[in-house]
């Protein structure tokens, strides 16, 4: 049995990817399970999905804590979530990553097998949209074998109808483009991810003893959601404020669902990168065109 954990953002199709692989495996006569993680998170928020594939019947209905493989649909998640958490030593990390960023992944190659592909580009080439989930399946197949490409024809057809062929092409391209780097060294005891700061992640502070709970589970600290940094959800760029064109009308601030626009010491409007989800309404609604949405540098 192989256990796979998918990491993506709400809306990127991680759950769909896990489901498609499960269906293809089942169509080949194998056994498989695909299931999402459930929570209040919305589009853009880090989410995960789980997949088991086995030659024999699976008698497990628990979360996957020590996966053999992780599939990361959005490379920016590496900074936000410990995507390598529990990944078995020597396990495989299938990463969506443009070629020029591949080098930055190398620290993980010490202990893990890296399968990298520019899945977003493959999706753009074939579907015309940056929806990389089916391309990532191609990379997963390249890295792990598991299932034949052709077994995806039917599940894709069922799922996407007339877009099935384009998705299949995207998957196929990623299958061919994906590069495999075997682990370069001994498995270290800790993953480099553990040195990163996950202060924006809820799991860290959620567990409380019943005696320390306020009456009836009330939350006593007003507005403490400010500790949850939704700026990590930005997928489509950040607003850039051009003060020369700004008339300081303040509409951008009134039109921000996050209250993430404020005036700095010089009375200039700027955005708060901790909370801005990158929706782009401020840029679209600025009557003077003084805000533009620009791509962010990926660390």
């Amino acid at each position: 049995m192989i256990e796979i954990r998918f990491h993506g953002r709400g809306g990127q199709g991680s759950v769909t990817a896990a489901e498609l692989v499960a269906q293809a495996a089942i169509n080949e006569g194998k056994y498989a399970q695909a299931f999402p993680s459930f929570g209040p998170e919305r589009r853009g928020a880090p989410v995960s999905a789980f997949l088991r594939v086995s030659d024999s019947q699976i008698f497990l209905r628990e979360k996957i804590e020590a996966p053999d493989v992780i599939v990361v649909l959005d490379a920016s998640l590496i900074e936000l979530v410990d995507v390598f958490s529990g990944l078995k030593a020597g396990g495989s990390a299938v990463m969506n990553c443009p070629p020029h960023k591949r080098k930055s992944l190398m620290p993980w190659n010490e202990s893990y097998r890296l399968v990298t592909v520019d899945a977003t580009q493959a999706a753009m080439n074939n579907i015309g949209l940056p929806i990389a989930n089916t391309a990532m399946i191609g990379a997963l197949l390249k890295g792990m074998g598991l299932i034949k490409l052709d077994s995806f024809q039917m599940p894709l057809q069922t799922r996407f109808g007339r877009l099935a062929e384009k998705n299949f092409q995207s998957m196929t391209q990623a299958f061919h483009d994906a590069q495999i780097a075997e682990p370069s060294g001994e498995a270290p005891l800790s993953s480099p991810a553990q040195e990163l700061d996950f202060s924006g992640i809820i799991e860290k502070e959620a567990l409380m003893a019943w005696k320390s709970l306020a009456l009836g589970g009330d939350i006593l600290e007003p507005g403490n959601s400010a500790r949850f940094l939704t700026g990590t959800w930005r997928m489509t760029g950040k607003p850039v404020f051009h003060s020369d064109a700004c008339t300081k009308c303040g509409l951008c601030r009134l039109f921000c669902p996050e209250d993430a626009i404020f005036r700095d010491a010089d009375e200039q409007f700027i955005y708060n990168e901790d909370y801005c989800k990158g929706c782009g309404q401020c840029a679209r609604e600025c009557p003077k065109g003084a805000i533009t949405m620009e791509e962010e540098a990926w660390v």
Binding site: R43, G44, P222, A226, R227, T236, P257, D259, C279, E285
Partner: protein, 320 residues
């Protein structure tokens, strides 16, 4: 403006916007959420002396995942269908405690918040009951025209022909086959002192309507058009634009019913064709030219009716 004479309140102007924020950032709403935006604006209009009772729905879920809350004001959630009843209890209790001298601040505004499901469907009865009993609270209905919290299922507020996951498209279906329930008009039929429609694309208008709602004695109902990029299948940056188009095309007319009198403002003499509204949203992309004509006729007729109510209200002024 005449009807405003019936109603005294402190107006918010663009020059003097309140700094107050009832919600902190860090809530989990989708990017570009029109509902959270409208909520933020509405509560800005009220200030910190406010208690919120919230029906189950997107707002409740995205703003309070334990141990974090976005709320800077007292907030209570019990269930889906009963927010108006819970609000009735809060209001009645405070009335009793004020009378008995155990509370001293009589200026607290009680706000009940619900989505279109919690308001026009499952919470309809408790809302109607509370309005009939005259509880002094403002009900804010954030209408995003489907059950978004559970993943875009139809509600009675879903517009005709729209796609949702429970009125999907298929050889035997072209979206919702029933018309949208006209909630503001039903609320006005309760003969409460104040009913209004609003959108987050018109923030000053929205804030001032909420203030009027707080100023009247008795229930106020404000219906807020709340674009949902996720459920309406449109880009996150379009929430405000779509609300503007909805108003300009008369899909969503802005009006008030003040002590029974209809006041229609901002309606355009040359409205945009409704097709301008539909073309921005994936949930309508299957509409045929005939569907669009059907809706255009309906929108025109509804607007005519609304204007005739307003004229009637005007005509009856000053009669004994």
């Amino acid at each position: 403006m005449k009807a405003d004479k019936h109603l005294e309140f402190e107006k918010i102007t663009a020059k003097a916007l309140p700094e107050f924020e009832a919600l902190s950032p860090g809530h989990r709403a989708c990017p570009g959420c029109g509902e959270m935006l409208a909520l933020r604006q509405a509560l800005k209009g009220l200030g910190p002396n406010t208690i919120v009772v919230n029906a189950t729905g997107c707002i409740e879920v995205v703003s309070t995942p334990f141990p974090q809350t976005a709320w800077n004001i007292p907030w209570m959630h019990v269930a889906f269908e009963n927010a108006s009843a819970v609000g009735s209890g809060v209001e009645a209790a405070r009335r009793a405690l004020l009378r008995k001298g155990r509370l001293t601040d009589a200026d607290t505004t009680i706000v009940v918040v619900g989505g279109d499901g919690g308001t026009s469907d499952i919470g309809f009865q408790s809302l109607s009951g509370a309005l009939e009993r005259g509880h002094n609270f403002i009900y804010l209905c954030f209408d995003n025209e489907a059950y978004m919290n559970t993943g875009v299922q139809r509600s009675s507020a879903t517009p005709e022909f729209a796609w949702t996951t429970t009125c999907p498209l298929g050889s035997a279906s072209s979206g919702k086959t029933h018309k949208k329930k006209d909630l503001p008009r039903i609320m006005a039929a309760h003969d409460i002192p104040y009913v209004a429609t609003a959108t987050p694309a018109h923030p000053l208008d929205l804030m001032n309507k909420v203030r009027k709602g707080a100023a009247v004695k008795g229930p106020a109902f404000i219906h807020i058009f709340s674009p949902c990029p996720t459920g309406w299948r449109m880009p996150a940056e379009r929430s405000i634009e779509i609300a503007k188009v909805a108003v300009k095309s008369n899909i969503y007319p802005l009006y008030e019913v003040i002590h029974g009198e209809y006041v229609v403002k901002r309606n355009s003499k040359n409205p945009l064709p409704v097709s301008e509204y539909f073309k921005l949203q994936g949930r309508f992309k299957h509409l045929t030219a005939q569907d669009v004509r059907t809706i255009q006729d309906r929108v025109d007729a509804t607007m005519d009716r609304l204007l005739s109510y307003a004229r009637l209200s005007d005509d009856t002024k000053g009669r004994p």
